[in-house]
Symmetry: C2
Subunit: 134 residues, 2 copies
Amino acid sequence: MYTMKQACEATGLSYETLKYYCKQGLVPNVKRDAANRRCFDDRDIRWIRDLVCLRNCGMGIDDMKRYIALCMQGLESIPERQEILAGHRAKLVERIEELQGYVAYIDHKDELYRDILAGKRPYVSNLIDCSNQG
Amino acid sequence: MYTMKQACEATGLSYETLKYYCKQGLVPNVKRDAANRRCFDDRDIRWIRDLVCLRNCGMGIDDMKRYIALCMQGLESIPERQEILAGHRAKLVERIEELQGYVAYIDHKDELYRDILAGKRPYVSNLIDCSNQG
DNA sequence: CGCTTGACCGGGAGCGGCTCCCGGTTTTTA
DNA sequence: TAAAAACCGGGAGCCGCTCCCGGTCAAGCG
């Protein structure tokens, strides 16, 4: 049995976040002790760790609820689950490419700044001196 | 001269977002016509495009304000600007790596599901059947 | 035995960066 | 000339937390 604190340590969630997930009904049937404090068992901990995986995949709370419902239907819902995950995968890949573009932008900007400091380029005051906005 | 709508088209921002940036004081000294509607000139458009670059680099509104202030100080603030951008670059790279990990996780999960459907693995009901949870 | 400390409770407010909605004004179009 | 579109300022709502509140209970200490 785990207290809130132990469950946080075991799952990597903050106290507030775990409480929030409980409030949202993402962790069903949590037992309580005589003092109304939550008692998590190993199954709950595994469940919460799964929630963290879903969140990491980019799922929002409502999507997580839907996914959980699918999982509880059993094996037949696997294809649908695969579809959902594939959708999130695509979004992740898209986002990665976007971020890589921004890294490239910063690198370009840094080069520009270096050239200006080295006197190889005139300094044109224009906020961040974007010459590659296009 | 650009109306709000034209400025949105020219910068890729939504009407609401551009209005929000104006409200936040990120677009200084915007002119108004007789009917109190904003009139953007080319310089404003370039400025707004710069704001979009900063946002894409991962900056929050307050950081953008600070960065803008630095830019207005002129050439001498370039090293400080480079530092700030380097910090955001590092964050971007970190985030990219994180997201790549989640993609790998989904791929692993998909393989698991495929094995289950192919009968190569037993189906163990455990939310998303994580067997790779650290 | 009391007392402090600390974990915990439910409920609610705050956050950032938008996004949506409101009622009202002006401008453009048919 | 009337309807549609763009715009205005101000304010509420969104999401996924995070922080704060006043109160309860339990363990550890002297």
